[in-house]
């Protein structure tokens, strides 16, 4: 599969940046800069009921632009209604000035001409946003776009897996894809929110943690949940309880 080749190549790149450490979001960001070829990058997260927080910025300008967007409440990737990426090939375009009257001129003053904002999300689970800044205007080429989308998904997966209770990362482990094409993973997430009385983010974290702990594929575990062979019970340590099918 082409997708597997791309994932393998990018994961290797991410792992190289980690230099043997446990892979973190900053390593994904470093991989984005080299694979996608952008000048700067920032990742901001918004966990439940907390304000936006910049988790990573490649440099001072990226940090300042990210903080500016949060302060003035406008900028690519901050539109609460946007359900997908916001790709801006040229911030000096009239429509950009109209849309972001404070952010766009400030970014241009700082030497940024293109911004590509990728939400870190899985359906209703919205963890944050990854902003790519570039000094020259222009769209992302198709392959670079594919790499950026895949790496944004990887960052999303890492954020979900880092949040799992008591889970220490297995070194070099390739996290299960967050925006998986298997619908049963998303259906199971919804079912677990009801079973445990938790948010969709927590439900997805728990589902993924269960799959890792039992060394099973995420969509196989999800298939068991959907078929009602496996239930997540709110009780002891939240351990899922396997029931005969």
């Amino acid at each position: 599969m082409m997708n597997a080749d791309r994932r393998m190549r990018l994961w290797r790149l991410v792992a190289e940046h980690a230099h043997g450490r446990q892979v973190a979001v900053e390593d994904v960001c470093a991989a984005v800069r080299s694979a996608v070829g952008v000048d700067r990058i920032a990742v901001a997260v918004q966990l439940a009921a907390t304000p936006w927080e910049t988790l990573y910025a490649s440099d001072q300008i990226a940090l300042e632009l990210r903080e500016l967007a949060m302060t003035v409440g406008e900028g690519p990737g901050l539109d609460p209604l946007a359900n997908g990426p916001t790709l801006v090939a040229d911030l000096t375009a009239a429509e950009c000035l109209a849309r972001w009257p404070m952010f766009a001129p400030a970014a241009v003053d700082a030497g940024v001409r293109a911004v590509f904002a990728f939400p870190l999300q899985v359906g209703a689970v919205r963890l944050g946003v990854m902003d790519l800044y570039h000094g020259t205007p222009g769209e992302l080429q198709r392959r670079r776009l594919a790499d950026a989308l895949l790496l944004a998904d990887t960052a999303c997966a890492l954020l979900l897996d880092a949040a799992r209770p008591g889970g220490s990362e297995v070194a070099g482990r390739w996290p299960a894809r967050a925006g998986t094409e298997h619908p049963e993973v998303h259906q199971a997430t919804g079912m677990i929110t009801v079973q445990l009385g938790v948010t969709a983010a927590v439900a997805l974290i728990r589902l993924r943690a269960y799959a890792y702990a039992h060394d099973r594929r995420l969509h196989d575990v999800a298939g068991d949940v959907v078929a009602r062979r496996l239930r997540f019970d709110p009780e002891p340590e939240g351990a899922a309880d396997e029931r005969g099918g």
Binding site: M1, M2, N3, R6, A82, N83, G84, P85, T86, L87, V88, A89, P119, Q121, V122, G123, A124, E139, L140, R142, L145, A146, L149, L150, D153, G179, E181, H182, P183, E184, H186, Q187, A188, T189, G190, M191, I192, T193, V194, Q195, T199, A200, V226
Partner: protein, 248 residues
Amino acid sequence: MPGVNEMAEVQLADVFVEMADTLVDEFDVIDFLHVLTQRCVQLLGVSAAGLLLTDQQDTLQVVAASSERTRLLELFQLQTDQGPCVDCFRTGQPVSVADLTAAGRWPGFAVAAAEVGFASVHALPMRLRTEVIGALNFFDTSRGPLDGDKVRIGQALADVATIGLLQQRAIHRRDVLTEQLQTALNSRVLIEQAKGVLAERLQLDMDKAFMVLRSEARNRNRRLSELAKAIVDGSERISEASDADHSG
């Protein structure tokens, strides 16, 4: 299968008018594509229709189907590895398999399709100028090709689906296409999550859960994906009473 000549032309015209009307209003793209797949089934006399879009990372993802039966969705999705649909997507050309038992090219897919009772499969590309963005996929329980008129109607519906996906925005840049494709894919994930919430809360199967979600969205005059989001984050609920009212 009835031929196109026997098919009421009025019906055909009605479908295109319905689709055009939908595009004028503020509409939900997933709901639009769901209705479109249902109309494919009616107009083309096939058993099931599904619509798959590229996630721009080399994988096709199911965004709408004429029926939300889990096994049917799985069968559509299975083709992202091998099958007529992925071949259609990669070549940008229609792929038609009149008899799956005689098609040795996709052994895994052919077996899975036979298990669900399908004998033939057809796939038509969704194109935007030079770019292929997905495919419209049909299954039928009887063998046989899709005749020329039906291929033309199916391709017209695939083109309407592409237009609907772009939602009246001028697609002169790939950026806009990407934004719309990724939004549609995330909306689909939202809907799957909401189906899960409803399936668990109301003890329904996934097919029923989708019907409840969809009829509630219509009753409340809400976009499907907005209501789905509200259900997943718990800000809105659908009671069992609504299930009894609309599950039919």
